[in-house]
């Protein structure tokens, strides 16, 4: 480690979350070399934060991606200039292997989204954006017997090990995913790793 100033990148909650990820694999988390939970675990109506998310397969990253029309001011300067939040979308590895093999999201598929503030102008970068402070962890689960419409969506906040959340109301995430996502409630149109697979299985494409 050189004397570069990382401290300005990693403040407050970002540090806590980062260390929580490290801590999670030393406590109740999987042994090195494994990827953690392969199916969802619940406590009553709550999803328990899956272990090993940071080792899952990246589906794709995005920046400032939004489904509402930006305001005139945003469009002119705001969102583009500040970049908007980064989203990393992951899929649990055994669910990914199933998708590669079959083109289907199997029951008990888990996906995760980590959100980061955009960072910029840390040496030596002079343009563009990288992933700065960690903001939150969200998880989606396909569990046909448990959830009407098969999928449910959970906000796990800072994602500390053992944290739990009940599903978001159906009219929120789920309604939009069901209507607009290209493959079984998953926005594969935005995720290159899954898009390549989906495309291969889509009989209507060349």
């Amino acid at each position: 480690m050189t004397g570069l100033k990382l401290a300005s990148l990693i403040t407050g909650a970002g540090v806590a979350a980062g260390l929580a990820i490290v801590a999670s694999r030393r406590g109740a988390a999987p042994a090195a070399g494994t990827t953690g939970d392969t199916v969802p675990r619940y406590a009553g109506d709550s999803l328990i934060r899956p272990n090993g998310v940071e080792r899952w397969v990246l589906a794709g990253a995005s920046m400032g991606l939004g489904y509402s029309q930006p305001s005139g001011a945003d469009a002119a300067a705001g969102a583009a200039a500040t970049g908007g939040m980064f989203h990393n979308v992951y899929i649990e590895p055994t669910a990914y292997e199933h998708y590669v093999r079959t083109g289907k999201f199997r029951d008990k598929t888990m996906m995760a989204m980590t959100l980061y503030e955009p960072g910029q102008k840390v040496h030596p970068s002079k343009q563009g954006f990288f992933e700065g402070d960690f903001i939150a962890l969200e998880v989606s689960v396909k569990d046909t017997k448990r959830f009407p419409g098969s999928w449910a969506y959970f906000n796990l906040g800072k994602g500390a090990p053992g944290s739990k959340a009940v599903a978001n109301p159906r009219q929120g995430c789920q309604a939009c995913h069901a209507q607009n996502a290209a493959d079984d409630n998953v926005f594969v149109q935005f995720y290159p790793t899954l898009r390549a697979v989906s495309y291969k299985f889509d009989r209507r494409r060349p």
Copy 2:
């Protein structure tokens, strides 16, 4: 798969590269559940494309990140408005576990960078950017006995299975990494997954 128009996202080389990734795990690639090569393979002076890159651990994603000063026009409108290229930076999983455990990049560490065109305004997104067409695969390798300065950098183009490349000239990538990267030639300052670990091992920080 619904009738959404993915075709506009996935054209020409992007499709070829995507399918190559799928194909690679059906041919000489690792069995499902493994992560592929854990150490570099060479053919003479050339690095052979490592298998399983798309299953490696994401170090971090960035957009339009650059180390040169943008021109006035870029700064005013260009780069911010078009977003610049996405970079996904991965680390081979056994090297990641070593880094988590020790805070060091072990000899034979491999990292990879995949580059994507920015995609935008595909339904239902109305703002922001996602990862569009695949552009190229680059790989870095720490191999102390083989490379002066320990690290070398390889451009693998579209990254077809079995493709090979000789190392880039040292005065290019390597000189900048050696001088500016925060931890042993790796730009951990830009990668949240590694930053959290690096921070934990940095005795000079709180």
